[in-house]
Symmetry: C2
Subunit: 217 residues, 2 copies
């Protein structure tokens, strides 16, 4: 007990003394491999679909093996969940950026919905978030992240309710239904032979529908 402090030199040395490489902190390396796996899986899932994407293949593409995958994510579903959470966060960011640029809350809401449709046209989002995600992981509203972009829409709607622009409905319920409508619109548009024409129709109908929310139209 007496010689306790004699060699009490802090072992967490000056880590980055200019030359990085070899001895980077462990947490960073782990985060990097996780990120690499998520990125590789994301590409594979988007291009081939969840079921057809081989874990051996895309882990090898990331310079790793399935061992790393199972260690960090448990199984294939766990990786999908991680991919989805990442994408959901990105979508949420994009949506809030868009709505913050709008001049009125109503415009913000409409812009968000249109942006959601546009994002849903991106093959990666459509395939992973809208098709494989629900099939493999179940109802999106039960996902851990609780669909951040749904919450964004909910918030926009709540503002509109508070300021008396739209009727006092339940904001979350409205967000979910509107989201569902935009989603099916996006699927329809993306697979149509004439996307532009279909898109026009869909937006027109969409605006007609949400006009039902307005206190006065």
């Amino acid at each position: 007990m007496a010689e306790k402090m004699a060699d009490k030199i802090a072992p967490e040395m000056a880590s980055d003394t200019g030359l990085k490489s070899a001895a980077r902190p462990r947490k960073e390396m782990i985060a990097e491999t996780k990120a690499k796996l998520i990125a590789a899986a994301r590409h594979a899932f988007a291009r081939q679909g969840y079921a057809e994407a081989s874990m051996d293949d895309f882990t090898a593409g990331a310079g790793l093996t399935r061992g790393a995958l199972y260690h960090h994510f448990g199984d294939k579903k766990g990786l999908l969940m991680a991919v989805i959470m990442q994408m959901d966060a990105e979508m949420s960011d994009r949506l809030s950026a868009i709505s913050s640029r709008a001049e009125t809350p109503w415009q913000a809401f409409v812009d968000e919905c249109v942006a959601f449709i546009e994002m849903s046209l991106e093959p990666e989002i459509q395939r992973i978030m809208l098709l494989d995600g629900p099939a493999v992981l179940g109802d999106p509203s039960q996902w851990p992240n609780q669909s951040a972009c749904i919450r964004a829409t909910t918030a926009s709607l709540q503002k509109l309710i508070d300021q008396g622009t739209i009727r006092p409905v339940d904001a979350e319920a409205t967000a979910r239904l509107v989201n569902g409508a935009t989603l099916s619109a996006a699927l329809w548009i993306a697979n149509a032979e004439d996307p532009d024409a279909v898109s026009k129709k869909a937006v027109e109908v969409f605006l007609t529908l949400v006009s039902g929310l307005l206190v006065e139209r």
Copy 2:
């Protein structure tokens, strides 16, 4: 289009020349095995999901083997398609029966939508038609059957437009968006901890949204 009718008409003339007797006609046997396979797959897909359902298992449950399945349906996806077409036809029948009972076209439309939500709560429909179907087969609007129940809704809407109850929007587009909204509502309700409360909210919002379609509310 035309070739479907062609190969249906041709071979049926010679079929019953009076004495089929002991052994039943071949077409009937085939139809029966097909029906058995579809029924077995339908149960398996509903209970375990498409990906987890083993073809060996449920064909054996029907007293057959995978050989029969590949002969009649080509592959697992082909069987899923057959199952979906069967279920879609059933749903379409139920919907048109409901709408024909309504007293006004508007009520028919609303009843149909509510019925669609209720049907989507059934685990079999939810799992096969709403989750696995789109993930495995792609956008439902591209399915051969072209979603019979979408067409039912489209027809109801067209009536409402013709009689001037709702604004002159595109009927099909409206049917698709409304369908998407009801679908997400159903998923939400089915997985909620308090389905009754959620259901009430969803219906209320739904009615508010479609009120936007009305010429005068």
